[in-house]
Symmetry: C2
Subunit: 205 residues, 2 copies
């Protein structure tokens, strides 16, 4: 049976990646959204099992020890990770999985699965990113500067990603469509169909 493909969507705060991912999921395609575990506290309306699996530090470290995380990373003291159970069973039965994770985790995914597709979502420029982050008006200057510094680091890994999508103003639906096209074209990749030559010559079909 043909396996599903792992899609990683990364991008700085202010790139709009959650919105793009949510709209992609709403299209009813053959995608499972992998819910990450985290040790950080829930914010606002975040629900356990929907936005994140909220676990304790002890639980997370026990999970690491038991090999329960496909990838994980630590940011500002908190763990974030993809439970194997959110990924492997879906891939095995041909369902694509989308991970919305940070660059460090993305690098781990690519190292484990060279057919994983890494997509970086970006605003058209650093200037636009800065305007968006300041425009929110909800965060301290310190936090904004931290997010900007992090974005600069993230974009250093641009060439480790397979694709990038530009989320300019009003371009969210374009990005969703582009992500959908990228997903569709994966099925035409020869490396995702190594059995095809055998199938081609099997005249019993």
């Amino acid at each position: 049976m043909k396996k599903g493909t792992v899609f990683v969507l990364s991008g700085p705060a202010g790139s709009g990646k959650s919105t793009v991912r949510e709209r992609l999921m709403n299209r009813g395609l053959n995608f499972h959204y992998s819910v990450s575990d985290t040790t950080r506290a829930p914010r606002g309306t975040e629900k356990n099992g929907v936005d994140y699996g909220f676990v304790t530090k002890e639980q997370f470290e026990e999970g690491i020890k038991n090999g329960n995380y496909y990838e994980y990373a630590r940011y500002t003291g908190e763990y974030y990770g993809t439970p194997v159970s959110q990924l492997t069973p879906y891939i095995e039965r041909g369902v694509n999985v989308i991970l919305e994770i940070e660059v460090a985790g993305a690098m781990q995914v690519k190292a484990k699965d060279e057919n994983a597709v890494l997509v970086m979502l970006l605003p058209p420029s650093y200037k636009v990113l800065e305007e968006r982050l300041r425009g929110r008006g909800t965060e301290s200057e310190e936090k904004i500067l931290k997010r900007l510094a992090r974005a600069k680091e993230e974009i250093q890994l641009f060439d480790k990603y397979d694709y990038f999508l530009l989320n300019g103003d009003g371009k969210i639906d374009d990005c969703v469509r582009q992500l959908e096209l990228i997903a569709e074209t994966q099925q035409y990749k020869t490396k995702n169909n190594p059995d095809f030559p055998r199938i081609f010559f099997n005249t019993e079909e």
Copy 2:
């Protein structure tokens, strides 16, 4: 300026590659169809400069010597090749180029340009291929067997191609659309946009 992408379309006789390529060209996209040179004689309604550039063996060999061919190969005693003039000037000014060439030439293109996109068009099975070739009713049994043997050789290079498209009965327009999607997604590849991080940080724009 952003360069165009080289697309190679290969596939056995009976795969329908000329029809797919013609319909793609008729869509008015940003594509130039590279007209190959050949030393073989024109057939039927073939026109010089449209279907092929028909040249003499001496002219072709002089062209090889002068580096005028981007790729070339010899089949059943005749030369086939892509003139540099059909490719480089278009790529340089951002136009995509589509080459309808054989596997040996495709390997040369990939070796010269790792961003070239190799697409193999195939019928769904060897059995269908055989039926199509026999169904034409215009070729000798000897020629059909030669074409089938060649198809077997070609499919050995399946995994050297980036993508493959299945041209089942009535699927030509699906293949054209799939090829168009593959072309579109190339522009979202990070490796085709190595300057983007620089552009991102350039706040002068």
